[in-house]
Amino acid sequence: MTQLSSLLAANKTASGLRFRPATLIAILLILIMSVVPLFSNAYDLTNYRDVLLFGLFALSLDIFWGRTGILSFGHATFFGLGAYGMAVSSIHFGIDPSYVSIVGLLVGIGLAAVVAALVGYFILYGGVRGDHFTIVTLALTIVANHIAIGWSKVTGGDSGLIGIPPFSIFGFSFYDPMASYYLALIVLAICLFSAIWILNGRLGLILSAIRDDEVKAKTLGYDTKLILLITFVVSAMLASLAGALYVTNTGFVAPDMIALLLSTEVIIWVAVGGSGTLVGAVIGTAIVWWLQQKISSISVTAWPIAIGSFFIMLVLFFPRGPGAFVLEKVKAFQKSREGNK
């Protein structure tokens, strides 16, 4: 028995170790990003800052999709609710400028949480899973987009709203690109490491179990619907956090921040990085953003065609993600070399 105990103890550390590479990559990534401003001009820095926030958005989707296996086609809804929550409360309500950003942030995240909880309750408790869940969330983005365009008195309609102040707290304003960059980086780092820490623990195991076999997880005593609902709501809140911070940088909000194309772009970001890897979502966002700059500079219409082709290639050639595809090829190459020796 004592032998077995040490084996089990070793196993415990091993299962902790198993996630080390991703954690290491995450630490490395944040370190690199924290020295980037030393080598960048202000204009590039504002772009990188947007990438960090989109990375946070991608992370929010990966927490739900990557772990539960249920794809949400509606995450732009939550990003957009954060964005519009911030925009509408800072423009329409005449709130004291010293705490308007905090109010906007709370309104945006609160809206997303309420919508996610309501929609999540109706569909997850109704037993809607898999592709039907995806369709319902797709419709959710269409609904949100309709409202953003149609309710122009509040949302500014097609042209959106302009004049959102930079994020500020306790009288300190993050209007300087350097300051707003570090704000984005710190928020991303906190969310990323918390997500890694929480999902590598028991909750991550339970979510994987639900993904494998929900009925079985239920017979083990887990309230699977509630667990899925909470994960969905948390994921939506992170998406709205990204959206709310994003518009304090751009200064405006527009209906394309709550649109289907954004919902699908975020899927690509996660898929490129490898869904379920968390840090991969951030890296995927950066890679796709870089590609988008290159392709859009050739032609504006080329970008949607590139995304479309990528979706098809993803299914046909690397169904488990490009990262896994490259890794497999490298492994196969190493094997064949070993075989030759």
């Binding site: 419709a139 289907l260 995304i307 979706f311 299914v315």
Partner: protein, 282 residues
């Protein structure tokens, strides 16, 4: 009383439109279980077939015949080249057809520009019904949609093709033992769904702005018509259309149209909570 006639006819028009756009969806998604996010673009292709036919000197009636053929061939090729690789994997079907949808939208826009296309519909006039003038084309649309629906239901309930399709979906192995080729049946079923969507596109074109993105408006609604009606039953489409179309018309008399559409989709989500299998499950 007479005030209710246009209201009633408007409901019928919308119900007919939903019926038309959802029937293809009922075959591809409801029966074959393929989540096809490019369904909207099948409708768009139908509408642009009308644009092309009119440009080369044809008319609406010719397009009404040509569009389903174009849709059918397009669907057949698509099924053979791409869709058959994703049967049984909802996530892959979803990603692939969404990719297709994005590409088709851009290609159509590249060819025809982003401006709405001008088309000439038939029947410019109005007909008087119980003393109320109502556009003749809409009345035609209502009758035509009903006819298409009846024919489709009959094909799927009574013909050998319909029987073979239902058999090969329930058990491909059994069907092939019985001498049915499931691969062939699937290809034709998918193509029929595309043909129906293209036909809907022609019929919709005179009532809406014909652009590369027009199909997107109908994508979510046709999914919901099928989900609410009950996936797996063609007749459920009628129930779904009546419910969603009726509600939307009713609400759009009280609130802005976009908000009404949004409200109906939200109601549909609520209905799914209590009837996850739809109101008329197969």
């Amino acid at each position: 009383m007479s005030a209710y006639i246009p209201y009633f006819l408007n409901s019928l028009t919308l119900i007919s439109i939903l019926l038309l756009v959802s029937m293809g969806m009922a075959i591809i998604f409801g029966l074959m279980n393929v989540v096809n996010l490019a369904h909207g673009e099948f409708i768009t292709i139908g509408a642009f077939t009308l644009v092309v036919v009119e440009r080369v000197g044809g008319n609406f009636w010719l397009a009404l015949i040509v569009a389903p053929v174009v849709g059918y061939i397009f669907g057949l090729i698509l099924e053979r080249v791409l869709i058959r690789r994703v049967y049984g994997n909802a996530l892959h079907a979803l990603l692939m057809t969404w990719g297709l949808s994005l590409i088709l939208q851009q290609v159509i826009q590249l060819i025809f520009t982003a401006n709405p296309q001008s088309i000439k519909g038939p029947f410019p006039g109005a007909i008087s019904i119980f003393g109320e003038n109502y556009p003749a084309y809409r009345l035609f649309l209502i009758c035509f949609a009903l006819a298409v629906f009846v024919v489709t239901v009959l094909v799927f309930k009574k013909t050998k093709f319909g029987l073979d399709l239902r058999a090969s979906i329930q058990s491909p192995e059994m069907a092939s033992v019985m001498g049915v080729n499931p691969a062939k049946i699937n290809a034709h079923a998918f193509a029929s769904g595309a043909a129906l969507a293209a036909l809907a596109g022609v019929l919709l074109a005179p009532l809406t702005a014909v652009t590369a993105y027009m199909g997107l408006n109908y994508l979510a609604r046709s999914f919901f018509v099928v989900l609410i009606g009950g996936a797996g039953s063609i007749s459920g489409v009628a129930a779904g259309s009546v419910l969603i179309g009726g509600l939307e018309t009713f609400l759009s008399y009280q609130i802005p149209v976009t908000v009404a559409q949004a409200a109906v989709l939200i109601l549909a989500i609520v209905i799914l909570r209590f009837r996850p299998k739809g109101i008329l499950p197969a």
